[in-house]
């Protein structure tokens, strides 16, 4: 029998072109290859593997962690896509994990929807998918379902990612701004404003070089430490866009309480202070991606600080202020100079001053 030798077939499920094209969003083989080679390859887990239209999660499995489902979603459009201390992928996982964790939930599963502008390099996409996978692993969550769309040039800025997450809140954990009381302590788990300063610096239009890295990190671990030592913690929020000032205003408004913080003990990196001095910005309004603001009853405040400091993401935890008697909804600051001022909501984006 004559053996006819065929050239070996190309391996299935591999992307062989350098950039994403509209073909990768067309629903055919190119799209399947992109999903297989970039996303499934990185996220690899049994719930995702069947690549069905949905991930199916066992309710009994969820119920072992608590008695309520926490459910959240967030979109990420950061520019630049890769910045000191992280990238859009890491951010997309941390953002949603942290939104679950500050509600007292154990984050468990994420979805990942990516909108890609044609022309983005496959290598970059791969780098970001791997970064998502690594961060998910660090956060103890699985990315179990997703979606990919490719749009025409100009229809989006290279890449947008939306992640949706579910987690489970343990029985007995009750957090809410309304639980804040006079005398409660206001805590943060570390240095403020790093993410905002890192992003502004990385955009490169300031002609300022800075060694500041984003604080982007999944917070479920440090939050678990906090809740175990300060079980009566009233409320937590992650001060992302708008920074600590905005979050404190939201808490003061929601709970109809007054909050006073002390500038002298507010943890700030010297580089961030310098960055803000030069550009005329207020670090209290800079975004954070690895920080929590927690309201803790006074008798648990010290142990809460100790608990956070015992975790790598809380080494510089500090009590920055208290719930005080005063006009409800108002946040004030005792300045390092000894004066007092109001810390208000930002009207719009923080704009640098002329001189």
């Amino acid at each position: 029998m004559n053996m006819i030798s065929f050239p070996p077939r190309r391996a299935r499920g591999k992307v062989h072109v350098p950039t994403v094209t509209l073909a990768h969003g067309g629903g055919g083989k190119a799209m399947k290859d992109l999903i297989d080679d970039v996303f499934v390859e990185a996220f690899d887990n049994p719930l995702l593997a069947p690549l069905d239209d949905q991930a199916r999660i066992d309710l009994l499995d969820l119920a072992q962690y608590g008695d309520r489902l926490a459910f959240t979603t967030d979109s990420f459009v950061v520019d630049p896509l890769v910045f000191p201390g992280g990238d859009i992928g890491k951010l997309a996982v941390c953002g949603t994990v942290n939104d679950l964790a500050v509600g007292g939930a154990l984050p468990l599963y994420l979805s990942c929807a990516v909108i890609i502008e044609e022309g983005v390099s496959i290598d970059l996409l791969r780098q970001i998918a791997r970064s998502m996978a690594a961060t998910a692993q660090e956060a103890g969550v699985k990315i179990v379902t997703g979606d990919t769309k490719v749009v025409n040039k100009g229809a989006c800025d290279r890449m947008f990612i939306t992640t949706t997450g579910i987690g489970v809140v343990a029985a007995g954990v009750e957090l809410g701004a309304h639980r804040a009381r006079l005398g409660d302590a206001v805590l943060v788990n570390g240095l403020l404003g790093d993410h905002g300063a890192a992003i502004l610096g990385a955009r490169g239009d300031m002609a300022l070089q800075s060694p500041i890295e984003s604080d982007c990190a999944p917070l479920q671990g440090v939050i678990a430490s906090l809740l175990s030592e300060a079980p009566n913690t009233r409320f937590m929020r992650d001060p992302t866009r708008g920074g600590v000032a905005t979050v404190l205003n939201e808490i003061a408004e929601a709970a109809q309480i007054a909050i006073e913080i002390d500038e002298a003990v507010t943890p700030l990196r010297n580089e961030v202070r310098g960055f803000c001095e030069i550009l005329g910005l207020d670090p209290l309004y800079l975004a954070n991606e690895g920080k929590i603001v927690a309201i803790v009853p006074p008798d648990e405040a010290d142990q809460a600080v100790e608990a956070m400091r015992g975790h790598p993401l809380g080494r510089q935890a500090a009590i920055i202020g208290h719930v005080v008697a005063g006009e409800p909804g108002r946040v004030t600051m005792r300045t390092i100079f000894g004066g007092r001022r109001i810390v208000d909501m930002l009207v719009g984006e923080q704009l640098p001053r002329i001189c």
């Binding site: 010297n270 004030t332 000894g338 001022r341 208000d344 001053r353 002329i354 001189c355």
Partner: protein
């Protein structure tokens, strides 16, 4: 942070506040007859609110927040002109950040950007010039705004562009000068001020001499002040000492940055590129003679006003707006009829609500905790 933290030292602040209290008591000043001191510069206003300086002072001294916020005093007609230039498809319109939100009669630059104009925020006019080099097929216009502090940097940028023969760069000149404005305030019939904190960064360029007339003819003392909170307190103390000792001089507290003779190179560049306008319109203060500069004929190619047709309309301030009286210290921000009601930082009616350096915006956002809120609440009650 070196050279910064030293000027925010709380212990030194306490000493100065005590000295200020002692001097005020010695002068027989009290809450009913407070001494009124104007800080001319918006940068000072910002520091005063940022560090809560006003709340540390006794009630026998009142700070009046002056007109030295270039963003605030920009008239609506000029913002309309900016937008008209920015709307041209060939134009990349570049501006400092806080000028983005200033409302014109139609819209702001921020809104114009959202509507599709190519408006970009820059940190220096040199960045705008770099954009012009990079985009030879576009017209790059820089929004020149500010007092003598920022005037030299735009002048030097124009000179640099001229040297390089760059044809697609121009500035829309809205630079203003501080001295005629202080004079206009001193000439106003309802003036109550007892002295001035002088704008340190303006003096860094122009020196001390241009202020001599304030002491000589108007018999008001001035201390040229720096921008850290201790600078403000020390300058106030120096001013009070002058008043207490019956002296009336121009003193310089900010000598570490502002030399008495100013900066000759900067002044030379300014003189080469600019000449005085006959008058310039100020938001809240009206038209003031010789209070603005324009690009000289020799540099006409770099003058956006000559190169692009602009509406150049004079838009009157809203009649309900009392910015002028606030600027002159006749009323306090919260005594204005529209403060916090029709006029807020989101929808500013008047100049002083526009930038965080404006007195009204500063009160609204940082709050005059000691006086502002107490008295505002008292007057509302």
């Amino acid at each position: 942070m070196k050279y910064v933290d030293e000027f925010r030292d709380r212990a030194k602040a306490d000493v100065l506040v005590k000295e200020i209290e002692r001097l005020l008591a010695h002068m027989g000043r009290d809450q009913d007859r407070p001494l009124q001191i104007m800080e001319v510069c918006g940068g000072h206003t910002h520091t005063i609110f940022r560090y809560g300086v006003e709340g540390m002072l006794p009630k026998s001294i009142e700070l009046v927040h002056g007109p030295g916020c270039p963003v605030c005093v920009l008239p609506m007609g000029r913002v309309d002109d900016c937008v008209a230039i920015a709307e041209r498809p060939e134009v990349i319109f570049t501006t400092f950040g806080d000028a983005m939100r200033v409302p014109g009669s139609r819209t702001s630059l921020l809104q114009a950007k959202a509507d599709g104009c190519d408006v970009r925020m820059v940190y220096s006019p040199m960045d705008a010039l770099a954009l012009a080099r990079k985009n030879p097929t576009r017209e790059v216009v820089f929004f020149g705004i500010g007092f003598e502090t920022t005037m030299p940097s735009t002048a030097l940028t124009v000179l640099q562009a001229a040297r390089e023969g760059i044809k697609n760069f121009s500035i829309f000149c809205n630079h203003i000068t501080i001295v005629p404005t202080i004079k206009a305030i001193l000439d106003s019939p309802d003036l109550r001020l007892d002295g001035f904190l002088g704008p340190g960064h303006v003096s860094m360029v122009i020196g001390d001499a241009p202020y001599e007339f304030i002491a000589r003819y108007y018999k008001k003392p001035m201390v040229i002040a720096g921008f850290e909170p201790l600078d403000i307190l020390q300058s106030l103390w120096m001013l009070l000492k002058q008043i207490d000792e019956g002296r009336c001089e121009i003193e310089n507290q900010y000598a570490r940055v502002a030399p008495p003779a100013g900066n000759a190179v900067a002044l030379q560049a300014v003189a080469q590129v600019y000449e005085l306008r006959e008058f310039f319109e100020w938001r809240g203060l009206g038209s003031i003679d010789h209070s603005g500069v324009k690009v000289r004929e020799a540099y006409a190619g770099f003058d956006a006003e000559r190169r692009f047709a602009v509406p150049n309309a004079r838009i009157a301030d809203p009649s309900s707006c009392q910015c002028g009286e606030v600027l002159k210290g006749v009323i306090k921000p919260w005594q204005c009829k529209v403060f916090g009601r029709a006029c807020t930082p989101e929808t500013p009616l008047g100049a002083l609500m526009v930038s965080s350096e404006g007195a009204c915006a500063a009160y609204y956002q940082y709050g005059g905790i000691k006086r502002g809120s107490d008295e505002a609440e008292a007057s509302a009650a």
